[in-house]
C-alpha cells in the first residue's frame, strides 16, 4: 500500500504561501529529494529575501537566512567551512537574477560545489507584484503598469541560458511545475542537482518556472495556463548545460 505522506525533511510549520502558489510544490520536491538521498541531517539550506524568506522554518535541516541576493556567497562560506555538508540555496528571481546577479554568476564561475534552486515566477511577489528581472515584455506589474516596455525597462534575464555560458557551471536545467509530468521532471532535475553536489561535481542550478496567481491577478488554474502560454515560450524548458553528460557523449 502506498501512503501519501509529508516528507520528513519538511517541518510541521504551516506554509505562508498564497493559495495556488507553486512554492509549496517546489518545497515538497526539495524535501522529498533530501529524504530519498538521506541527506537531511547533513544539509544546510540558505533562504533568500523574497516570498521564500521563511523557508528556514519549513525545511527540517539546519537553515540560515541571507541578505537579498547574497545566498550563493553565504552558501560558499558554509561549503568552504565544511565541504562534507550538503549546502543549497532556495532563491526567487528578484533575489537571484537582479540584486544577486554577481553572486550567482561568480559562484557558478568558481564551480562552487553547491545546489541552487531558482524559482522564476516573473514577478516580485513578497513586495506585492513589482516588475522582476524575469518579467516578460509587455507584462503588467505594479511598476510596469502599462506593460514592460523594453525600450525603457530593458529585457528579461534568461538565467539558464546566461549561466550555460559560464565555464564553471556544471549542470543547468530549466523545469516547470505546471503539470504532473513536468513536476516529475522537475524532481528528477532537483535530485540530480543534489546528487551532483554529493559526487563533488560542482555548481548545479535548477530554474523552476513557477506561478504567482495573487500578483498575476488570475486564478490558480488560469495561472498554470498563463505560465504555459507566456513563460514557457520565452523560457524554454530543458537541460542547458551538463558537463558530465557532454563528457560521456564524447
Amino acid at each position: 500500500m502506498v501512503v501519501f505522506d509529508k516528507p520528513h525533511a519538511l517541518t510541521d510549520a504551516p506554509l505562508h504561501y498564497c493559495p495556488g502558489c507553486t512554492h509549496g510544490i517546489i518545497h515538497r520536491l526539495v524535501a522529498e529529494v533530501m529524504d530519498e538521498l538521506g541527506i537531511e541531517g547533513k544539509s544546510i539550506g540558505v533562504a533568500p529575501v523574497g516570498c521564500s524568506v521563511m523557508a528556514y522554518n519549513y525545511f527540517g535541516c539546519d537553515m540560515i537566512q541571507a541578505a537579498h541576493g547574497r545566498a550563493p556567497a553565504v552558501a560558499t562560506g558554509i561549503k568552504r567551512a565544511d565541504p562534507s555538508k550538503v549546502v543549497f540555496t532556495y532563491q526567487g528571481d528578484g533575489d537571484l537574477a537582479a540584486i544577486g546577479t554577481a553572486e550567482t554568476v561568480h559562484s557558478a564561475a568558481r564551480r562552487e560545489n553547491i545546489t541552487v534552486i531558482f524559482v522564476n515566477n516573473a514577478i516580485y511577489g513578497m513586495t506585492g507584484g513589482q516588475m522582476a528581472p524575469t518579467t516578460l515584455p509587455g507584462q503588467v506589474t505594479q511598476t510596469s503598469p502599462y506593460g514592460r516596455d523594453v525600450s525603457v525597462a530593458g529585457y528579461p534575464v534568461k538565467v539558464a541560458e546566461l549561466l550555460s555560458n559560464v565555464d564553471g557551471a556544471a549542470y543547468i536545467e530549466r523545469v516547470a511545475v505546471n503539470n504532473v509530468k513536468n513536476i516529475n521532471k522537475a524532481k528528477k532535475a532537483i535530485k540530480k542537482a543534489f546528487q551532483n553536489q554529493i559526487d563533488g561535481k560542482g555548481f548545479s542550478l535548477v530554474e523552476v518556472l513557477s506561478t504567482c496567481p495573487t500578483n498575476w491577478g488570475v486564478t490558480p488554474e488560469k495561472a498554470l495556463t498563463w505560465l504555459e502560454e507566456n513563460m514557457m515560450p520565452y523560457y524554454p524548458l530543458g537541460v542547458y548545460k551538463d558537463i558530465y553528460a557532454e563528457e560521456e557523449t564524447k
Binding site: D62, M63, V74, I78, A102
Partner: protein, 355 residues
C-alpha cells in the same frame, strides 16, 4: 622574552589571525590593506583546513564570512574604508544574528573614493555600528605593529566570548609600517557553540541563523537583550593607555598613529614645563569613559587629536560630560598631524587655562 620578528602591520594582523585559529579568510583587493589578503593567500593553502578565497566583491566577501561564522568557525575579512561601507549591510546581519567574526578596516581618506593615505575618518562608522539597525561592534584600535597582532588575537577571543562581530580599526600607516613583533599571543579561548549550523545529524531540532523578526514585540526583546550584553561589555572590556596622566593639566585624547605623534608632543611639552598627558583609547567601542571621567575632575582641558574632521571628540565630550573644554587638533584627507602641530595645540590650551 619571546623572539621578535620584523613585520609589516598588515602581515602581523594576518599571522595573528592564523594563530588565533582563524582558517577562513575572504577578501577583495583594496589599498592600503591588500597585504592582509596576499599574506593569507600564501599561508592558508599550506595550513590544514585553511581557506583563502578572493571574492567577486566586498559584499560577497562579507556574506561568505557570514556563512562561515554561522558554522561556528573562526573567520575574518579585511578591507579599507570604501570597502567597509559595502560590507556594512553584511556586518549588520552578522550582528543581528549574534555571530562572531572579525572585520579589519585599514582606513584611508574619504569620503567617496577619497585617497589611499592613512585616515581615521571611519570612527563614527565603526563605533556607531556602520550598517542599519541598533548594534555595536567591539572596536579595537592598534597603535603599533605589535598591537596589530595582539589586538587581532584578542578580537577573535572577544568575538566568541560575546557572540558578536569585532573590528580592528587601523589606518594606512599602521598597515604599511614595519616594527619588531613578538608573536607570543597567549591562549586561544574556546566556547561552546550549540547554535552553530553543523547539520542536525537527525539528532536534534534544526538550528536557524536568522535576523528576521516580523513581530515587533519580539524584535524589541532581541534588541533589549543585545543591549544588556553591550552593557556588560562596556563595564568589562573598555581599555586605554594612560601616559603621564598622574599630574596632567592638559589631556590629549588620541588613538592609533595619532597617539604616537601625540606622545612625542606630550614629552616635548613636559620639557617646556607644561603638564601634558595622554589618554589613548585602545577600545573605541566600548569607549574608555571612566578614564576620561576621572581625568575631567583633574585636568584643565582636553585636546582630541584626530585624523578626521573631529569624530572621537564627541565621545570625549560625552565621557567628560563637557565638564572641561575640549578642542580639536586635526588633519584630514590622508594627512597626519605633526608633533609640532600637536605641541602648538597644547601650548595654546595651556594659555587658555591660565585665563
Amino acid at each position: 622574552m619571546a623572539e621578535k620578528v620584523l613585520m609589516k602591520g598588515n602581515e602581523a594582523i594576518a599571522e595573528a589571525a592564523i594563530m588565533a585559529g582563524c582558517r577562513h579568510y575572504f577578501g577583495y583587493p583594496i589599498t592600503p590593506q591588500t597585504e592582509v589578503a596576499a599574506y593569507m593567500a600564501k599561508r592558508m593553502p599550506k595550513i590544514e583546513g585553511g581557506v583563502f578565497l578572493q571574492a567577486e566583491s566586498e559584499i560577497a566577501a562579507i556574506n561568505m564570512v557570514y556563512g562561515v561564522a554561522a558554522t561556528g568557525k573562526r573567520v575574518m575579512t579585511s578591507s579599507s574604508s570604501p570597502g567597509i561601507s559595502l560590507k556594512s549591510e553584511g556586518i549588520s546581519y552578522i550582528a543581528g544574528c549574534d555571530l562572531p567574526a572579525l572585520i579589519v578596516n585599514v582606513q584611508r581618506g574619504g569620503p567617496g573614493l577619497g585617497g589611499i593615505q592613512p585616515s581615521q575618518s571611519d570612527y563614527f562608522q565603526a563605533t556607531r555600528g556602520s550598517g542599519h539597525g541598533d548594534y555595536h561592534l567591539i572596536v579595537l584600535a592598534p597603535a603599533s605593529v605589535q598591537e596589530m597582532a595582539s589586538l587581532t588575537f584578542k578580537a577573535f577571543n572577544l568575538a566568541d566570548k560575546y557572540r558578536m562581530p569585532t573590528m580592528i580599526l587601523a589606518d594606512g600607516t599602521m598597515g604599511q609600517m614595519m616594527e619588531p613583533v613578538s608573536l607570543d599571543m597567549g591562549e586561544v579561548e574556546t566556547y561552546e557553540k550549540p547554535w552553530a549550523l553543523t547539520g542536525t545529524n537527525m539528532e536534534r531540532e534544526h538550528n536557524i541563523v536568522n535576523s528576521l523578526s516580523l513581530v515587533p514585540e519580539e524584535l524589541e526583546k532581541f534588541n533589549f537583550e543585545r543591549f544588556e550584553k553591550y552593557k556588560a561589555i562596556e563595564e568589562n572590556e573598555a581599555l586605554c593607555e594612560e601616559f603621564m596622566m598622574e599630574d596632567a593639566e592638559i589631556c590629549i585624547a588620541a588613538f592609533g598613529i595619532a597617539s604616537r605623534v601625540s606622545k612625542n608632543a606630550v614629552i616635548e611639552a613636559r620639557k617646556q614645563g607644561i603638564k601634558a598627558g595622554l589618554i589613548r583609547p585602545i577600545t573605541l567601542w566600548p569607549f574608555p569613559k571612566k578614564a576620561f571621567a576621572k581625568a575631567a575632575d583633574k585636568v584643565k582641558s582636553f585636546i582630541s587629536v584626530e585624523m578626521s574632521m573631529g569624530q572621537m571628540i564627541e565621545d570625549v565630550k560625552l565621557a567628560t560630560e563637557c565638564k572641561k573644554p575640549v578642542t580639536l587638533c586635526n588633519r584630514a584627507g590622508g594627512m597626519i598631524p605633526s608633533p609640532e602641530q600637536v605641541l602648538e595645540a597644547i601650548i595654546e590650551a595651556n594659555k587658555g587655562g591660565d585665563k
